[in-house]
Symmetry: D2
């Protein structure tokens, strides 16, 4: 599918519609149906046992999929997550976590993809997720170049 927005444009858009949303995240790479998003490490995400909290990883998965979707559909603030499931596989290191998203479908009504999350520098994932977004029927599509 054709890509409408690049990493900088998506970051700008998310900061506009959801101020502060990208304080913890860096979009490292976007290509059609794919995105790589980094969640910066910070102490406040920790939970007992010294691991990064589940909700932080869920937020990362949700953000990773949203970034990949916005790259395809453009500046559309009203897409919402309709389903998310996540498996926590390994205790994440106290470090940044990198999320690799692959979209499997961007339909008229639903977009579905998988997200693998890695502690920075590791080659086995600390978590996997799949996420479905519902796309509004009437979109605020921007003029696309």
């Amino acid at each position: 599918m054709k890509q409408r927005l690049n990493a900088g444009q998506i970051t700008e858009f998310l900061n506009e519609v959801f101020p502060g949303a990208m304080d913890r995240f860096v979009i490292e790479d976007v290509s059609p149906m794919r995105a790589r998003v980094r969640m910066k490490y910070s102490d406040y995400q920790l939970r007992p046992g010294g691991t990064i909290s589940g909700p932080s990883l869920m937020t990362l998965a949700d953000t990773g999929l949203w970034v990949a979707l916005l790259a395809i559909i453009g500046r559309e603030p009203l897409s919402v997550t309709s389903h998310l499931d996540i498996d926590f596989l390994r205790k994440p290191a106290p470090a940044d976590v990198v999320a690799l998203t692959v979209l499997h479908k961007v339909g008229k009504r639903l977009a579905v993809g998988d997200v693998l999350m890695y502690s920075d520098g590791e080659d086995v994932p600390c978590a996997r997720a799949s996420v479905t977004y519902a796309i509004p029927s009437v979109r605020n599509d921007p003029p696309v170049d």
Copy 2:
């Protein structure tokens, strides 16, 4: 199953091991294999469209299940979420959200349950979740009662 901790004891324990965890949550009721937990409304959870954010509801589902589990297994800080899946059904009102958890199984290694979440005063859920916790093999079980 026998209940080891009541609402006050669980709140106290969660605040000990995870300071601040309960700032947004109130345990309203706990009985064997069930819990009712309220997430207090606050503006910072909002996302575009004026709805409560998905990660806030995921955190509520995770907390609701944990509360029901701690009631059964006692002061055990090292249980961790191994799986969570959530369906977002309706746009939540800008209001408290109440989570009703039912545990279906508390085994030696895994606990599984469902969580239904309702905007305060509504009789249809805004989200449903199911959550699996992995329970450590060697538990720090406290003397009970």
Copy 3:
């Protein structure tokens, strides 16, 4: 929501559009947003360890949700499962399995519900599932009542 079809009408419809589909299933009860469906025991469902196979329980969950949905939307053959997730909780007995479905939402495009499955006579579930059906935009709604 208003109920359009009763147990007998749903059985008849499923046998029409999907011959043989109900050979293994009995719709025991249907009420608005709820259904109870029994899967009859037969040896061929067994897998190593003497338990009923996972795919049999998945088929039961899928059928249970479909029955509850058809009761609401009427004779609509083109609704399709878009998501199913299932947790296998306990080894089922070599016996009938009864599925209790509760629908949480029947929207214009999606229907979502939970299914609890019990070995006949047991009071704890052997499996839980949640299922999403996609409902076609243009429906073949029959004259109702």
Copy 4:
């Protein structure tokens, strides 16, 4: 991880412990943490609308993961699916379906992986699944070469 069984050995084992299980499936390739399994097309899998039934795809996902797992853990009949979730993305063609499994974790107690399913010859998946197997504590590990 080290691979204990090849495609032929896994097929032989599955036919031993679960006669008929592999009548519809061909293990096309196995490598450490990966498997490619083909489900042969047959008319009896069809459902209204002419598509391959959901339960057939769920069985394929379950089988694909099991094959990848057996390659790693060896002749162990008692591993059981503990969780499966599946998204149906596109109407499958009336053709074979090929499942590509990637295992993300094979731990002492749980194995987790993703399965992408493609109608034969297509380059976008008709379904995605993630599957968790519970591995028994005491294994019948064969002598490994």
